[in-house]
């Protein structure tokens, strides 16, 4: 209740995550019947697996709802054994997914508005909590993008799209979206983006400008769009293959920031001669 009155999305997430971790540690010690019972309270379609290597069979929709936030490759649906719409899971894995369900459940609950005024004693505590949080959060560095576009710091996917466009060759819709959002987010102006697309055979200035402005948040919904995640680019065939930095990041903009940092340290450090 205290967290939900702070109305702070970050705090809510942290709290829900902590509760989920606690739930996981408790759940993984429970027996199969108990786990089934708890899963049923969340309306999961789950049953014991008829397999030597798995304990449970869970409907793929329940599986997907609780795994799309996970990054380990073992949680990808394509890396699971699935039969008749059911994904095979061990007891420990099921506990992990249930904990994720708990996390989502808590986050949704925290979003419900509390109508009543808190008594002064508790309100003070919430105030203190928030202050403590802000003092810590202030230390988390917000990274700035450089003013100039640094082509050498582009990830392989964006570099390839950029070169393709420069030579006037066709790129897919997803490719265009990735390139435009990337360029806008790394500080390119709408004018420059429009110019870049000018060499395409199906170039239409009015349309391109409209879309670039939309992506930059200047039109319609006013949302500023960011490029798709690496994972999504891979699905749509935009990823040309990973390099060393790619292995450490999950988003093209994260690649850009990291590469910029590496380039910066490389120029700052050992070149100065010793006195």
């Amino acid at each position: 209740m205290m967290i939900s009155t702070t109305k702070d999305a970050f705090l809510k997430r942290r709290y829900a995550l902590a509760e989920a971790k606690r739930a996981y540690n408790l759940l993984k010690q429970e027996n199969k019947d108990k786990i089934t019972q708890i899963a049923n309270t969340f309306n999961w379609k789950i049953k014991p697996a008829k397999s030597e290597t798995a304990d449970f069979a869970l409907h793929f929709t329940d599986f997907l709802r609780n795994t799309t936030g996970f990054h380990e490759t073992k949680w990808k649906l394509v890396n699971r054994t699935m039969l008749n719409g059911e994904v095979l899971l061990t007891r420990d894995e099921t506990a992990r997914l249930l904990a994720e369900e708990v996390r989502g459940h808590i986050e949704r609950k925290l979003d419900t508005k509390i109508g009543l005024e808190l008594p002064p004693g508790i309100a003070n505590r919430v105030e203190l909590l928030q202050q403590l949080f802000w003092s810590k959060k202030g230390k988390m560095r917000l990274e700035e993008m450089p003013k100039e576009i640094v082509l050498d710091a582009f990830p392989p996917c964006i570099r390839q799209l950029y070169n393709t466009i420069l030579s006037g060759r066709h790129i897919s819709h997803v490719g265009r979206f990735a390139l435009t959002t990337f360029l806008i987010n790394s500080g390119m102006t709408v004018d420059n983006v429009v110019d870049l697309f000018r060499s395409l055979s199906d170039f239409n200035e009015r349309m391109t400008r409209y879309q670039a402005e939309h992506i930059a948040g200047g039109r319609g919904s006013r949302t500023k769009y960011i490029p798709p995640k690496c994972d999504t680019l891979r699905t749509h065939g935009v990823c040309p293959g990973m390099d060393e930095i790619c292995r450490r990041i999950r988003h093209p903009l994260a690649y850009y920031r990291r590469k910029l940092r590496i380039m910066q340290t490389a120029t700052e450090t050992p070149t100065a001669p010793r006195a």
């Binding site: 929709t61 649906l77 060759r169």
Partner: protein, 407 residues
Amino acid sequence: MNKIETKAFIQEKFVEYYRQNSASIDPPSSLTNREFAFLLFKERMMLRHKGVKNAEDLRTLLKTVVPSDVYYSSAYYEKPEEEMEAKGWLGADLVFDIDADHIQTPCGKKHDTWTCNNCGATGRGAPPEKCPICKMQKFDDKSWPCEICLESAKRETVKLIDVLTRDFGLSPQEMTVAFSGHRGYHVHVEDETVQTLDQMARKEIVDYMVGIGLEPRFHGMEEGLGPNLEEAGWRGRIARGTYDFLLNTNTEQLEEMGLKRSVVNSLINQRDKILESWKSRGPWKTKGVGSESWKKIVQKAIENQSVKIDTVVTTDIHRLIRLTNTLHGKTGLKKIQVSASDIEQFDPLKDAIAFKEGRISLVVFEAPEFKLGDERYGPYKNIEVELPTAAALFLLCKGAAQVKEEH
């Protein structure tokens, strides 16, 4: 007739179709929650965000608007007529699109043509990297629905239905399969359990179909071990793909994959023994074939088993889909439903014919040989011909011909 008159002629035929056949056009489920969109003949403009109250309303609209193409949203909205942000997304069908454009086909797409935007040079097949004449890289291309392309698309559709039934546990009654009227097939799943899946969840389903991010180590591939033919999910698919590959491969292909000469020899010389070994514990311990070689072979097996769907369509939760039994503006054929269990016998270029009567005299500029119904036509080049309405309309919609002037 010039271009504009030809367009008017096509539209007249579409008017005829919608007047006579509107009763056969059924609205999608949850009609009032769907957005409708109509591509107009005039200026190729898209009329969007339309709502429809009932079947009669829809049929009247089609008869009066007479669009070149009719779409509805795979999504369900609270207010389908509002702008995107205000529609109130409630859910969406799970949709798959298989299009010959995304598949390598044995015909090599010889029927497709490209024209260089710079010098006007033309050629057959997919456009080259650079124009052989002027070295520029911009082209216009034209594609044809050929029977070989459509057969490849059908093969992929059959694979898709197999994965949906066996792995995803859907019954053939829970999916709708249709020929799009041009170059491919659509498969719809309206089951309630999938409607609220978000984009990320759908992306995972796409990755499952295409085999993206698949790591064989999660499917029983270890040193000297591997999956069996009858196992569930991708395990069995990897095994069956490997079996097919080993059955059909040759020395040349194996060498192209970068396998060592000794490995290639082991695989070719022991082929019968290897295929026989599937009856027991599989070929994974074959002498002279190490785990690095198996990795390469398994990659081929995954490629062979993966379903070549359009990844964008399935992940898009606001997609517009062509309405069944309406005409395709690029062919004059109709989108037509086929039951999942009858797809093998289905002949798209026969069953999708919308115009069954009359003949039209045309001047054909250029067209490759094509099949429609039980007849073969063409190839044509700058020739006057009289063709059955369906074949004539097909060429007119493709922009390959114009109606002959009557004197």
